[in-house]
């Protein structure tokens, strides 16, 4: 099985703080890769570097063979990203949001129209396609948000805590949909704080803390290696049980 994402010594620091420190991981094509870690572990920073929103200070990374620093456009074209925040415009309808992003990705008009219909059908929102996203429930918005990341038919999907704040029905739907993505050949990188979710969905897992990867491998292998019965136990074993009250070293105030 060939590699979809590869990072070698990838590092990102903000002043004194190393948010991601010499991370080397490899994600196999067509698999779901779970990225776990406590708050501030560096998961989101790692994903932001992979999707070209942040420049690394050191190291290299590639997505589907494209270097994230020198081939940014190619990387953006093969990546679909679902961030923690909704990347949707509330005063546009679901169809308009998908159309906008399809156009920004340069999807051909006729293909785009057909793809929007298919995706809206998949998320069961065809009947409300022309309603403003602002009128949608949280679950409906997240469904649109996920298929927005698929509008240009990427090969790799990065999902940053996609089930956060959703009701159980929506959580179930997202998990099933993510599994479906893998079955359709997409490579998925998923960050989550839900250990069961990670265990259920991901074939390979990486546990990060303080910017470093502490363990990486298949869920069963990791449990066996560390002599634990579930992923939560493994997570606490590796990252500790103490509360994370330490300061990040850099306070970023909004508005300055």
């Amino acid at each position: 099985m060939s590699t979809s994402i590869e990072t070698n010594g990838l590092t990102k620091s903000f002043g004194e703080l190393f948010a991601v420190n010499k991370v080397s991981i490899s994600v196999k094509r067509g698999t779901i890769f779970g990225l776990l870690g406590p708050n501030g572990a560096g998961k989101s920073t790692l994903l932001r570097m992979l999707c070209t929103l942040l420049k690394p200070n050191a190291g290299t990374a590639s997505v589907e063979g494209h270097d994230i620093e020198t081939e940014t456009n190619e990387v953006r074209q093969v990546l679909g990203v679902v961030q923690e925040k909704l990347l949707l415009y509330p005063v546009l309808t679901a169809r308009e949001n998908l159309e906008l992003f399809g156009n920004l990705y340069g999807v051909e008009k006729s293909v785009l129209r057909e793809r929007i219909d298919t995706l809206l059908e998949e998320i069961k929102l065809t009947s409300v396609r022309d309603k403003l996203v602002a009128t949608y429930s949280t679950g409906m918005r997240q469904r649109v948000n996920i298929v927005r990341a698929l509008i240009h038919d990427p090969r790799v999907i990065l999902l940053d805590e996609p089930t956060n704040g959703l009701d159980p029905q929506s959580v179930r739907w997202v998990r099933d949909y993510v599994k479906g993505l893998k079955d359709r050949g997409y490579t998925v990188v998923l960050t989550t704080h839900d250990m069961k979710e990670a265990d259920e969905l991901a074939e390979d897992l990486a546990i990060m803390d303080r910017g470093e990867v502490l363990a990486v491998g298949k869920s069963a292998d990791l449990k066996k290696r560390f002599g634990v019965s579930d992923i939560e136990q493994l997570f606490l074993e590796l990252t500790g049980r103490e509360l994370r009250d330490s300061l990040s070293g850099k306070v970023k105030m909004r508005g300055w």
Binding site: L86, L87, R254
Partner: protein, 370 residues
């Protein structure tokens, strides 16, 4: 309350803007409306068409009195066209014409002089009118003396005929309309862009745009263009209201007017991008915008003539793009100025736009890609 104030204190952009805004505003108003004295050193042109000793003598007396009173800075010419052009170019606010035949008129006891007013600003027009009348009134005894010491009330009288540079009677609003149109551009271009960027930053949707293969420049220009359209729509609205409800006339070329407006919006959107790099949320963006907008509105000559400002505020005014938009737009709209008359303002606007974008684009890139 304490929480809100603490928040205010900790968000530095808001804090700085909150302190600076009233300071700037008060300094501005304090210096704009000085307690004593009116406008002085108003540039005017004297047209000496009568080259006879009597004509030269009368005009020289006027020039001497005008300069002594410090009310006017006088330049002289024999060409009426040149003098009128000085007004169109915004370099003079009035023209006093000493027509041929002054000697004969003096002997007949009544001299007819023509004064052409700029009409671009009613306040300034009044100052020119009042100043010219006062000077001629002070010359009356001198005139009588030159006619053999007869009493002042029996010497030759000087009749002044005031005319606008554009024929017909203008409404006062006519002079304000160009400034109002330019101001609506600011609101559209400057604050619109800063607000849209900061809103997208706050919502997180900017990331969505930045993750697509389109370039950062395209995002900036796309958003700027939307603000250009928005600014032009509001300008057209102000324009339509001015014409239909307040009888404002357009004397100049619509093409030139659109050109000036477009250049103005481009410069303002550049400033908007620059401001947005310092503000991550809408409230901070709004405060920063107000800090830029208010001085610009009051210093640019939109509402008051720049000449009324003290020298240091005049110096500031010449760094503001709105000053050139208002001046050029007014000249085209009211004085039917050709391109050559506003070319200086146009070139300055092009330079300001290029400089602002050259600074704003790298800063914007840095702010979104750390």
């Amino acid at each position: 309350m304490r929480k809100d104030l603490t928040e205010f204190y900790r968000i530095k952009a808001r804090l700085v803007a909150m302190i600076m805004f009233p300071v700037i505003l008060m300094l501005l108003f304090g210096y704009m409306f000085p307690s004593g004295g009116g406008v002085d050193h108003i540039p005017i042109v004297i047209v000496q068409q009568d080259q006879t000793p009597a004509g030269i003598s009368l005009s020289n007396s006027f020039i001497y009195a005008a300069q002594s009173s410090k009310a006017f800075d006088v330049s002289t010419t024999t060409s009426l066209d040149w003098a009128v052009n000085e007004i169109t170019l915004g370099r003079a606010y009035g023209v006093v014409i000493f027509h041929q035949g002054i000697a004969q008129q003096l002997s007949s006891g009544s001299v007819q002089l023509e004064v052409i007013l700029d009409q671009v600003n009613p306040t300034l027009d009044q100052s020119v009118k009042g100043g010219v009348m006062q000077i001629f009134s002070s010359l009356q005894p001198q005139l009588s003396a030159s006619f053999g010491g007869i009493p002042a009330n029996r010497g030759p009288t000087i009749n002044l005929q005031f005319e606008g540079i554009v024929p017909g009677q203008q409404s006062s609003f006519e002079f304000l309309a160009p400034g109002m149109i330019a101001m609506s551009l600011i609101i559209g271009g400057l604050s619109g862009l800063a607000m849209t960027f900061s809103r997208e930053k706050e919502l997180g949707t900017l990331d969505g745009l930045l993750m697509t293969p389109i370039s950062r420049i395209s995002i900036i220009f796309g958003k700027s263009f939307a603000q250009v359209v928005r600014g032009l729509i509001s300008s057209v609205l102000v324009f339509a209201i001015s014409i239909t409800l307040f009888g404002v006339h357009v004397y100049g070329s619509p093409v030139l007017m659109v050109l000036v407006l477009l250049l103005g919006v481009m410069a303002f959107t550049g400033l908007g991008i620059l401001a947005t790099t310092f503000a991550n949320d809408q409230e901070s963006a709004q405060l920063i915008m107000m800090m830029i907008q208010f001085p610009m509105i009051f210093l640019s000559g939109s509402l008051y003539p720049i000449i009324q400002l003290p020298w240091f505020l005049q110096a500031v005014a010449y760094f503001l793009p709105l000053t050139y938009v208002v001046s050029a737009f007014r000249s085209v709209m009211i004085l039917n100025a050709p391109f050559s008359a506003i070319s200086f303002q146009v070139y300055i606007l092009v330079v300001i736009t290029i400089v602002v974008y050259a600074i704003a684009i790298p800063l914007f890139r840095r702010s979104v890609m750390r």
